[in-house]
């Protein structure tokens, strides 16, 4: 037999990133509920875990009598977890059994698989005997991998919706698949622009590229060239952020589980642990996508500014830096949820196809022209070409939008006519 130590190292790398993610999920839930409560001017879960000791009971040791300990409702997440595990698991009679059981597992798979390419620290700091601990696999096609695995996220939802044998669930699943197909394109195009700018599909290369001085100007060397600071990177980041929210089926893109229309959408018929795995998959996906966003646009595990002594210290703090960034993006998810109302279905499709996709393609073309012109004619001409190219594309887009607006039929609206069948209404 061959040496199996590479397999053990790989397992260690997997455990080092997958276990913290799954352990974080309850805290993410608590964070979301508390934050939503604060944003909506209500209290939120703040009781579970508070301990108030009796003042008089002899069973309580003396120093503890009458003391209050507050946990800010942190134990609520664990109470929910226990509740979901102990609840009766109801499986409706008409479900497609095999697919019904596979679907929740499939919902958990993509977020965990997506972790494989996210580096949480510089590999020269985090390694044992020359075996790097992160990322799980430093493959040269990491961006494509993210694209591939995130597209698998739809299966859990679609199959859950189908197997439940329930009209509402099926509708939720169908909505989800249409939504994912639409937003994946814009997401891919926004990432493609970043790949062009980096010249590599590798995550570690992307982080190295973002360590360079801002806009390639040496005088600004103390600020790192995070892609979100560059003009094309900013546009890509906005597109990616919107697509990310759509991919994880979060509000305002939560049509697959729109409560007022579809009960609970694809997971209506799921209860107990199976429902919990859908739930966990959703929150894990949010955090993992936040991590991907931080890595591609916010410089990954690096600080925004660099100084000779600081970089070495920041190397040891890398996981913490990445965590803070990811939690910030996660908070943006919640913020968006608390702020924006749910989109109508045609609005959702129009946003994806008519706005995000053209914008992402335009961005891609501009980056392409910029790189080509800079490589052939040098910096100055490069910027000029970008300006000219952007102006032409926006003019064409504006004119076509104007034309389609004047040529198109006015927006159709439907009237609801209440009919009383007793009076012989049609």
């Amino acid at each position: 037999m061959e040496d199996i130590t590479p397999i053990l190292w790989a397992l260690l790398r997997v455990v080092l990133i997958a276990v913290p993610l799954l352990l974080l999920v309850p805290f993410l839930l608590w964070w979301e509920r508390r934050l939503l409560g604060w944003m909506q001017d209500r209290v939120g879960p703040n009781r579970v875990g508070n301990i108030t000791f009796s003042k008089t009971s002899r069973l309580v040791p003396k120093p503890l009598r009458g003391k209050k300990y507050r946990l800010f409702g942190l134990a609520q997440a664990f109470a929910d977890g226990i509740k979901l595990t102990l609840k009766e698991d109801i499986m409706p009679a008409a479900v497609d059994r095999v697919i019904y059981l596979i679907a929740p597992a499939l919902a958990l798979f993509p977020p965990i698989a997506l972790l494989a390419t996210i580096p949480w620290g510089p590999s020269n700091v985090f390694s044992i005997n020359g075996n790097p601990l992160t990322p799980v696999a430093d493959i040269p096609v990491a961006i494509l991998y993210i694209f591939a695995v995130s597209s698998l996220g739809v299966y859990g939802i679609v199959l859950g919706g189908y197997a439940s044998n329930n009209k509402y669930s099926l509708l939720g699943g169908l909505r989800s698949s249409a939504q994912l197909i639409s937003y994946e394109l814009a997401m891919g195009m926004s990432l493609a622009a970043m790949v062009l700018a980096t010249g590599s599909l590798s995550m570690t290369q992307m982080i190295a590229e973002q360590q360079k001085p801002l806009w390639g100007v040496e005088a600004l060397g103390f600020i790192n060239n995070w892609f979100v600071f560059t003009p094309f990177g900013f546009i890509s980041a906005v597109i990616f952020l919107i697509c990310m929210v759509a991919e994880t089926n979060r509000a305002p893109f939560d049509l697959p589980e729109a409560e007022n229309e579809l009960i609970a959408g694809y997971h209506t018929e799921y209860s107990s642990m199976k429902f919990a795995s859908f739930f966990m998959g959703e929150y894990a996906a949010m955090l993992v996508f936040s991590g991907i966003f931080s890595t591609i646009f916010l410089g990954g595990y690096t600080l925004p500014f660099s100084a000779p002594g600081l970089d070495a210290a920041a190397g040891y703090l890398a996981p913490l830096i990445l965590f803070v960034k990811s939690i910030f993006i996660f908070t943006c998810f919640i913020w968006i949820r608390a702020t924006l109302p749910r989109l109508r279905y045609d609005q959702l499709m129009a946003l994806g196809w008519k706005w995000l996709l053209p914008l992402a393609v335009t961005n891609f073309v501009v980056v392409m022209v910029w790189i080509a012109a800079t490589k052939v004619y040098g910096e100055g001409i490069g910027w000029l070409a970008v300006g000219g190219c952007a102006a032409i594309i926006f003019a064409v887009f504006g004119i076509s939008a104007q034309r389609s607006r004047t040529g198109a039929d006015p927006l159709q609206s439907r009237k609801v006519i209440l009919v009383d069948p007793k009076k012989g209404g049609a």
Binding site: D96, I99, F147, S151, V158, L159, Y162, E184
Partner: protein, 183 residues
């Protein structure tokens, strides 16, 4: 590991065990596509599993790019559309085509056997004598995205461009088919 021949037993390594397992899953799921004829969703799912295992086999061969493209294109896009259509139309069981024994059955079996023999002769027999790891070493950066991009835009530029034109025609055609109704 040199070339292997059909007569000799293959050496048992982690690679061969992994390949054996993946190939087994791929073969079973390929049969499943046909065997689940009464429930189209399960057939489609078998196809998904088949595509996924093929992608993993590509990974083990060191061509990550091909495996990823396999997942992005087939598993992530085409099969999702398949499922979408199957669910949207709510396809149920199809009536079985052959109810009794038929001459056509015999003919079908013969054609299938012939096809299998042809594929076997064309693919498996030459491979038995080929030195497979040497093929991978010949190309620098085998299976890496830059190597694939380079050879697509130099050696295979005409087939590549023709495929792009074909795809463009497909896109324009599908838009035309949808738009025609309005006039």
């Amino acid at each position: 590991m040199g070339g292997f021949s059909l007569g000799q037993p293959m050496p048992v390594t982690v690679d061969t065990v992994l390949f054996g397992l993946l190939a087994l899953v791929a073969a079973i799921s390929a049969v499943g596509v046909v065997a689940f004829g009464r429930t189209p969703v399960r057939s489609a799912l078998s196809l998904v599993v088949n595509f996924l295992t093929l992608a993993i086999i590509y990974f083990t061969l060191g061509s990550e790019m091909l495996g990823i493209i396999q997942i992005v294109v087939y598993t992530g896009a085409i099969m999702v559309l398949f499922l979408f259509v199957i669910m949207l139309l709510n396809l149920g069981a199809q009536p079985p085509l052959a109810k009794a024994k038929d001459v056509k059955m015999l003919l079908a079996i013969l054609v299938a056997a012939g096809l299998f023999a042809a594929v076997f002769a064309a693919v498996v027999l030459p491979m038995a004598s080929a030195d497979i790891p040497a093929i991978g070493k010949e190309m620098k950066g085998f299976g890496k995205p830059d190597a694939i991009g380079y050879s697509l835009l130099t050696e295979y530029v005409w087939p590549f461009e023709m495929a792009s034109v074909l795809l463009l025609v497909g896109i324009v055609g599908s838009i035309l088919l949808v738009k025609r109704r309005k006039q």
